[in-house]
Every structure is written in C-alpha cells, then in structure tokens.
Symmetry: D3
C-alpha cells in the first residue's frame, strides 16, 4: 500500500518531518512518501492561504493517483482542496480535520480542539458543522502561535499543556484534538507531561488519524462516494 503525503506549502523541510511523523503510525506494509508545493504560501493560517495553495494541491493529488498511490493525505488541519480533489480522483483523500474529528468522536462524548491561532477558530467550526458533528465539540481553543513559530517546541508544548488543562477543567472536554498538522511529534510527550500531573486525557493527532483512516479504507476497498463527489463534467475551461 502506497500513501502520498501532500504538504500544502512551499519549502521541503516540512515534507520530511511529516513523512517521519506518519511513519510512526503506519502498518508494516504501508509505504509513505511526500511532496511539497513549488508555489503557494509558506504556511496556511487563513481561508485565503488555503485558496492560494489549492490549485497546486489539486495537481499533486491527481499526480499521486497517476503514480499509483492508493491514498493521499493533505497534511493541513483546514482540509484545503480536499473536497475538490475528491471529485477529480477515485482514491481516498483526507486532510487533517475529518479523521481527527471522527476518531475523537469514537472515543468520548465531547472533545476540544486546541489549534494555533484564534483567527482560524471560525474556519474549524465551519468544518465541524459540515461534518455534522458540531455538538460533539466542547470548545475550540488556541495557543496563540503562528505555524512558523512552532519550531519553538518548548513553548508550543507548555502552551498546549495549559490549554489542554483548561479544556478539560473548564470546558469538560473528554479528549483533545491537536488542531494543526504542524504540531508534530507531540502526542506521546504531552501524554507523559499530563500523566505526571495526574491527568489522563486522550490526545488525537491528525496525522495518526489520517493514516489510520486511509489504511482502513484502502484495505476495505472503499473510497469517498462518487455520489457526493462526482467527476466534474467535461466542459471548456480556459487557462
């Protein structure tokens, strides 16, 4: 089984990190490779950024199917280009939101998202409404750090711990979804830090969940519905 990660930004460094992360969660017979974009934003923190990246993501997904990949993970929590890509290909395509939100709904009653910035909260609420699981969300919190600062892992971690505790204590969250696919390599560490403080709450990592959904769908021989995402009609398109 061959899964392609599409890192929807320019710059190669994130591609490698994403593939490494994904490799920790994959089955032994799964091969994962990754590609980035030549053009597009350096991070996605708005609908606008997602729009800029979309045509290039689309190309990468179509290319992945042509390359014989069995599934594609567009590694961004905002699911940019995902629904359009599903129209163009037959192989399963996921961004970060859907798998994480559904996995969280599988293991508890109400869960919180902890994301990067207050300004992406409305976008995440919209995704939750579209998926039909809005009532399962206890809260959407943020750590007030843009993507390009997430390299400061110590700061990211301490802020995540702080917001996770608030989500559990103040919002009655029963599980946590990490709301940015750039929050890499953190699930286990967070678990340990929280455990030391006597707290136990599942941390759903979008990369892990996405790889799991893809593997499961590929083994089951199913993909997204072509009744929901039909192939676009033939017509003149001028470029």
């Amino acid at each position: 089984m061959k899964i392609r990660i599409v890192c929807p930004i320019v710059g190669d460094w994130r591609v490698n990190e994403s593939v490494e992360e994904a490799n920790q969660f994959k089955a032994p017979d799964t091969d994962i490779d990754g590609v980035g974009l030549d053009k597009g934003p350096t991070s996605i923190e708005s609908i606008y950024d997602g729009i800029l990246a979309t045509p290039y993501i689309l190309d990468r997904v179509i290319e992945a199917e042509r390359d014989g990949c069995d599934g594609v993970f567009v590694t961004c929590f905002g699911d940019p280009a995902v629904d359009g890509a599903r129209e163009k290909v037959s192989i399963p395509v996921f961004g970060g939101f859907r798998p994480a939100a559904l996995m969280a709904s599988a293991i508890c009653g109400r869960w919180s998202v902890v994301t990067i910035l207050k300004e992406v909260v409305p976008l995440i609420r919209d995704l939750a409404r579209k998926l039909g699981i809005e009532n399962n969300i206890a809260s959407v919190r943020d750590i007030d750090m843009p993507v390009l600062e997430l390299d400061d892992k110590a700061k990211m971690q301490s802020r995540l711990v702080e917001q996770i505790e608030k989500a559990v204590m103040e919002d009655s969250a029963e599980a946590i979804v990490l709301g940015c696919t750039g929050m890499l390599g953190l699930g286990r560490t967070l678990k340990e830090v929280l455990a030391k403080q006597g707290k136990q709450v599942p941390i759903v990592e979008p990369t892990a969940a996405a790889i799991g959904f893809l593997e499961s769908m590929i083994r089951s021989g199913i993909s997204h519905s072509k009744l929901t995402y039909p192939f676009p009609r033939e017509k003149e398109r001028v470029f």
Copy 2:
C-alpha cells in the same frame, strides 16, 4: 452606491445578463456594473469548477474594492471564493446562497431549493449546514439541466414548475429558492404560471436577495465581521 457583479466564469454574455437582471431589483441610487473572468471554467457545476475560478474571482473582488465599489456580488449559487474574498477586503461580499437562504428563512418556516443538477445537491447541503439553517430546508430538488443548457428557457421553465409543484405538494415546502444564479428573469413568470394553476408560493431569486443584502448593509455601514474573516497575516507566498 456602487455594486460590482463578478461573474465567475469566462465569456462576456453572462455578465450583461446578470447586470440587467440585478438592475431590476436595485434602488435608484445604486450603480451596478459587472466583470467576467479571463481565465476559468465556462460554468460552475462542481467544487472543482469553483476551485478553478477562485483565484480569478479573488482578483476581481480585490480590484472592485480598489475601484471604490461599496459591495460585490459573486453571481454563483455555490458561493465560490466568497469566504476567502471576505478575508482580503473590507467591503461586503456575497455569493448567491447566503442571501437567498436567509431571505427564504425570513418569510416562511421551511423552504426548498430547486437547482440545476443532482450532482450539486451535496454542495448545497454543505452550505446550508455552514450557515446553520439546515433544519429550515424541506428539500433540495433539481431540474436535471446543466448551466449551458439554461438558454432553453421554455424547457427550464416547465421543469422548474414541475419541481416546484413537487416541492410544495410532496415535501411541504412553503417557499422556493431558485438554486442557480443562471436561472435569470424567471421570478415573475414562474409566479404567473403557478398562479394560473391556483398555486401561490414565494420564489426567492438569489440575485434579488443578494442586491438587497448588499444595499441594506452598505446603508447601515456594516460589513462581514473581521473576527470571522480576519485579514490574512503577512508572510512569504511564492508565485
């Protein structure tokens, strides 16, 4: 007051028709002009088409604000590029769905959409969920005609009458939203045809509703919330 219509497809003919249609519903002090796209699809009937058009729509909306327009109507029922455009500009921006859906909710309990093709129904349901008014929808029906066949006005009209009657009789719709901004010049005719058959049901036309929302917001001095649609951060974007 100056409103710009962005016709999100290539080809000039639709621009003129759209402006003419809009002029029938405008206030006397409103000036409406229109622009089309140089590149993009010739019609929008899928998420993919919307994606292809999006970067060019975005340019047109930004240009409209620079030209001193007070508001923009992206004349497509699927609201392509609308949320991203709202991030980039301060003037109000609407597609066809939001105003029509809210106007219909203002005048009845449950209403139906009659759109062009079965394949766009999931997309319309998603827009309804995002807007939070899904429970006000009695049904989403289609006339099984692609956009580029809507020139056959007689056929379009007879199919619309047929589906409107079904929506009222079988789905208990109390009002109808025309689910494509290409269904031009039809509100009054449909009303008369239905009235002759002893039926009275309000027909909400997206163009009329959009012009109304824009005029009302411009006169009130409000626009979309910058807490929902903040300006995208400065960052490197490679093109």
Copy 3:
C-alpha cells in the same frame, strides 16, 4: 415605496424617534411614516406586554395595507403580533428580531444579542429557535435597564460597551445584535467607541436590518408565504 412603522406602545414620542432612525437607513425612493397605539402598554418587556399590544398592532398593520403601504415594520425586538399580522395581510411585515438575526447570520459565524433585561432572555431564545438559527447564537446578554430608562443614553452606551466586550472576549461573539429597538441612534457611536479601544465588531441594528429586508422584498415582489401564514378562514367571531 411606502413603509409604515408601527410603534407598538402608547405615547407619540417614540414614533418620531423611530421614523428618524429608520430614515437614516432607507433608500431615496422609500417613504417612511409611523403610527403609535392609542391603547396598550407604555413599553414591551414581557410576553404579557406583547399580548396587550397585539390587537392594536394588528389593527395598525391592516390599516397600513389599506392605506397602500408596501410593507410594515413593527418596531419591537420581540416580534409581537407579527405572525398573526402576516396571516391578515399580503404585504411584508417584520418585527425587529428576524431581520437582525438573519443579517447577523449573513456576516459572521456566531453572534450575541445584547438586550435590556435578563427577564426577556428566554423570549429571545424562543424566537431564535423558531427561526431555526439557535446554533448561530454565542450568547444573549443584557444591560439591566428597562426600556423607559433608555433615555439615559450615556448609561445605556457605557453598559452596552461593557456587555459587547464581554460577548466578544468571553463568549467568542463575532458580531453583535442590539436586542431592543429602543436602543436608537447607537450603531455608529458604539462602533467609534469600540474602535478607539482597538476593537472591531459589527453592530447589527434591528431598525436598519428591518428596513433593508422590507425594501429588498418589496423590490423583488415577494412577501411572506401564504402557505405558512394563510388568510384566516371566514367564521363567526364574537366581539
């Protein structure tokens, strides 16, 4: 176009203020006049007050249609008599809640109402449920001032600023609806005060929204659905 404002209380002073307020938001070809009630309460702050006013509001709406008005605005946020009046006439009729709630839903994800008194909050929640947009509400707050004290504009303004800030900071409201049509002449001032403090949040004023909905519907030739609000049957009614 001729719009009649029905001020659903006794006392003439509010009629003039309401018409003046409405005139600030109207199109050039719209004529707005106003009438008050001869009998009824001096303010509406309960379902009971609304009930007392209802028969007299009804008379005023029927009279407006007879006088050739094209639409009616019953200037109270609680929408008293509106649904019954819609049964009796063909011209569009709005109170303050529906247009403001729908306008707010058009420009953001989740919004808050700031109203006069804690005791009207359940009534407002009921209106939101009926309209099907309850999930778009972040909170309903109050300034703890009865209608007849709203003359103290300085106090009203400072309390509004306080509650608006709480709605934005604590409840994540992305827009604000002023929850009383007696909160007159405030939209611009509030905007400036908030802007000085570096805060930007759209303030939806019910009068502005109602005039906008009426103008839009009248120009489009539509009104409320007679399938939702049919003419009452002929029958004996004893008075």
Copy 4:
C-alpha cells in the same frame, strides 16, 4: 385539587364536553370545572384566532387563580395565551401541545401529530421547535376537517384512522398525538379500530396528557419557572 378548564372559544357546548372528557382521566381527588369565553372566535384554526382569544383567555386564567384553582388547562392544541398567562399567575398553566408532545416523547422514539387542517401545520412545527423536541417528530399530518365539522364523528374517525396508518407505515411514526383538543372521546375507539386491523400504536390525547401533567405538578408542589415567565413589571398600561 381543583383544575379549571378554559375553553378558549365562545359557545358553552364545548365547555361541557371538555370537562366530561377530562373527568375520564382525572384522579379521584381532582375537581374539574370549565369556563368558556364571552368574546372571541368560535374556533381556533390560525394564529389570528389565537390572538383574538388571548386577552379573554388571560382574564379567565387570572380569575382561576383568584378562585383558588390549583392549575389551568387552556383546551387548545395551539397553546394560545399560555406563555403570557404563565407570567401573570403562579399556578401551573398548560395548553394541549406541550403535555402531549412530552408524553409522546416519553413512550417512543419518533411520533406523528395528526391535526385538523394543513394550514395549522407550520404553527405546530413552531411549537415543537420552541419546546426543543422537533427531532422527535416523524411527521405532522392533517385530516382536512375544520373544527366546526368535527361533530361528524364518523367522518373524523375514518379520516383519523387513514392518516394514522399513513403516519405509521410511510413516516415510521411509533406513536400518534391527536393534534386538536376538539378530537374528543376518541382515544379508546381509535385503539380498538386499529387493533381490529392488527395495528397497535399508542394514541396520545392532549386532554389526558394535560390533566396528568397538572396533577403531577400540583402534587409535587412545582409550577412553571418564574425565571422563564417572570411577573410583568409594574408600568403604565393604557386601556
């Protein structure tokens, strides 16, 4: 325990029938009497009719409390005047909708209403939304008979059987609520007729449910919340 039935129409005959009906469902220590209106409509089949009756219903409810009654049943499925009356008195007040809808929700998953006329369906849907149980409703059907024709019991019964069967077979209703308090003396008969045809579905009669709720609340010493329905403030009201 003393319960007063307020029959919200003019004409005495319905008062007696309603009291008789209620007496079949009451506890031995409950005394039930009834009053009608001197002024008002002869039947309630619209929001308008409810509005006309409302001031007179209000008087009757206030009078009931003054007379030492422990609870009031306003015998109409549309709950006219009920919320306003709850503000004015401390004793429990119910119309027909709330108790029947909640009783039905207690005994099955999804239930249907069978009411008199298509034109009251939107009104019933609004009541369901306000009560927060809209999703428990499988359908709202009607027998196409106005209140004043319900004297033709044979016709009413056969049409009820027909619609109940459709509700069960086509809409998957698991229980039926009779959607008019004028459908008197029918629960047992309908049950037998349906049983003969091998069908078993609970029939919730609004009068039985309302008496049950009142008795239960009176014995428990609780009433509607004064936080939801506070006493109206003292103020000038001109009549």
Copy 5:
C-alpha cells in the same frame, strides 16, 4: 392503581425510603409497594453498575406485571434496564431520567441537572441525546458525593444549594433537576432554603415526576409503544 417501585440495588433500607418518598406525591387511589434486588451492586454510579443490576431489574419488572401491577418505577436516574424491560412487558416502565427531563422541559426553557459525581455526567448527556432534548439542558453539575455518602443529609443539602446557585447564576438555568433518585426528601427543603435567600427556581424531583407520568399514563390507558419496544422474538437462549 398499583405501582411497583424497583430499587435496583441490594439492601432493603433504600426500598422503604423510596416508597415513603413516592407516597408523598401519589394520588389517593394509587398503591405503591417496593422491592429491592437480592443480587447486584450496592449503588449505581457507572454504566458497569447498571449492567450488573440489569438482569435482576428485568426479573423484578416482569414479576411486577405478573403480580398485576399497572406500572413500574425503576428508581435510578440512569434508567438502567428500562428500555429492555419495556420490550418484555406491556405496562408502563420508567426510570428517573425521562420523567424528570420532560417535566423540566414543560416548565421552563433551559434547565440544569445537579447529580452526584462528575463521572456520571457523560452518561446523563447520553440519556439527554437519546431523548432528543439535549438543547434544553443548560448544564450538568455535580456535588462530588457518592451515593453511599448521601446519608449525610446536611452536607448533601449545602452542596446542592451551592451547585443550584451556580447553575442559575452562571449557566442561566431556569429550573433544576435533581440528578439522583437517592436525593430523597429534599425538594421542599431546598425550596425553602433558596427562598430565604431570595431565590426561586423550580426543583424537579425524579421520583415525583415518575409517579406522575405513571399515574397519567395508566389513567389514559396508554403505555410505551410496541413499535419502539417490540416483544423480543422467540428464539433459543442458553442459560
């Protein structure tokens, strides 16, 4: 009329207390007796406890029908075994949740539950979802006391007052449901204590509500729907 209380734990003392409590709320022609379990947990504070008690509760309910009882109240707020028991018998069966939740929905807009322990909150939320009234819940709070400590009535009462006040002031609850059937003999006392502090909020006691629902249904001749809870098919079951 004969109602059987099934106390779903081992130990007789609770049976007597429960019957005494119930007797305070019953009609004069209602006879209430009670039975406990020979085997099972000594209290129910988890899904697991409910599961352990379930087969024995089931036996008791079947026995009650055989003994000629007209209805059964399984006196636990978690409704253990109730849906399964409804399949096996024809007489009405209630636990504590459904009647209390529906009674609270009858008297206010939004209400809070105050229960024993944080760990049963998810279970109560699930019951609310199943019943379709989740949106009527303002909050679910707890007093942090296990069932077997509820004998300390002074402590229980002071903690209840504290949480009820928070529910009203912070969560805008308009009524309170006591979320454990072991909170016996408290409704009136709580009311007095709260009244002394100038607070008035209805306290819904599950035992009172359950007896009321049973009496009402028995007098009306209705029970739970056999379309929702059909008799289990004949088949081999090995024990």
Copy 6:
C-alpha cells in the same frame, strides 16, 4: 498487534466466520482470534437480547485484556456491552455501529443503514443520536430477515440490493452501511452487482471499519477516554 473478536452469542460457527471476515481487512502484523459465549442468546435482535448477552460479553472483554490483547471487537451492530466494557478495561473496545457510522460520515454527506428487521430501527436511531451524527443519516431501511435466516445468502443479497437501490434513489443516500455484523462476505459482491447495473455507491462493512479503527488507535497509542468511561469505583457488589 493482537485483536480479539467477541462474538456475543452462543454457538461457535459464527466465531470462525467472523474471524475469517476480519482477516480479509487486517494489516499483516495484526493477529485476530475469536471467542463466543457459553451462555446467552443465539442472535441479537432486541435490546433484551443485548442485555442477556452483556454480562458474558463483559467477561470476555476483561479476559481479552488479561490475555494481552491490544483491542476488542464485539461483533454486533447494536454495540451491546461496549460502553460498560470500556469502563472496565483500558484497551480500545468497539462494537459494529460506531466505526461504521463514523467511516460512512468520512466519505459522504448523508448515508443510509440497511439492517435486518424493522424492529431494530429505533435502537439504531438511538445509537446515532448518542454518537451525535443523527443528521448524517438519510434513512434506516431493513431487509425483513432475522439473523438466523442470513444463511440464505442469495435471498439476503437480492434484498440488500433492492433496499440499497431504494436508499440511493428515494432517500438520496450517498453511501450504505450494512447494519448487521452477520451480513458477512458481502461488500465486494454487492459492489459488483450494483456496478453491473451502472450504480456506484460505497458499502461500509462494520467488521472492516471496526478492525480499521482498532488498528489505527492501537498504532497511535490511544484508547477511549477514561474521563468518559472511568473505572467503576470500588464498592460491595453482591453475587
């Protein structure tokens, strides 16, 4: 990785079939074994059957954890004993409903369940409500065949095709969930049969989905939340 299938009925034959089925969907490093019950029903087609099986399922799940299994699949679509088992163990436990419902929600907008018998439909609707995804369900249909007749594979298949077509054509389902874990070995066949008729709709098989969820969770190191499913308190339990 070691997954244990608990077949919640008596009789060994189903155990083997279930393990065989599961083996078709597993990763290469997953070992799956299975156990049945010594006591319990021979099939589960009611809440009552689920209750009878529950204590024995619980034992099997606890045993599985003791045996070092990494996860458990209780192979029944009604999720019997699952929530209670989650309280008792730390390893992930799934029945058939949750994984299938979430997988279907991942690949389309609205999906239908096709189950065995009309009488289990209310039970499935309850599970959907609890999971918070009720609005994603287009319909719940049945093939009118009890579990013990599913051996007639030809009949089962032709009835499934018939109901799947109705779900797609009449209810606008965009994907299908097989609503019984006894519908074994059918996904591919159904797909082919439907494809021959020019129809393409994803068929979600609960066994495939459950194995996928378990593998994904085990690899990610997460399990159900102990805030939702805490370990039951120590207390006296008499047996």
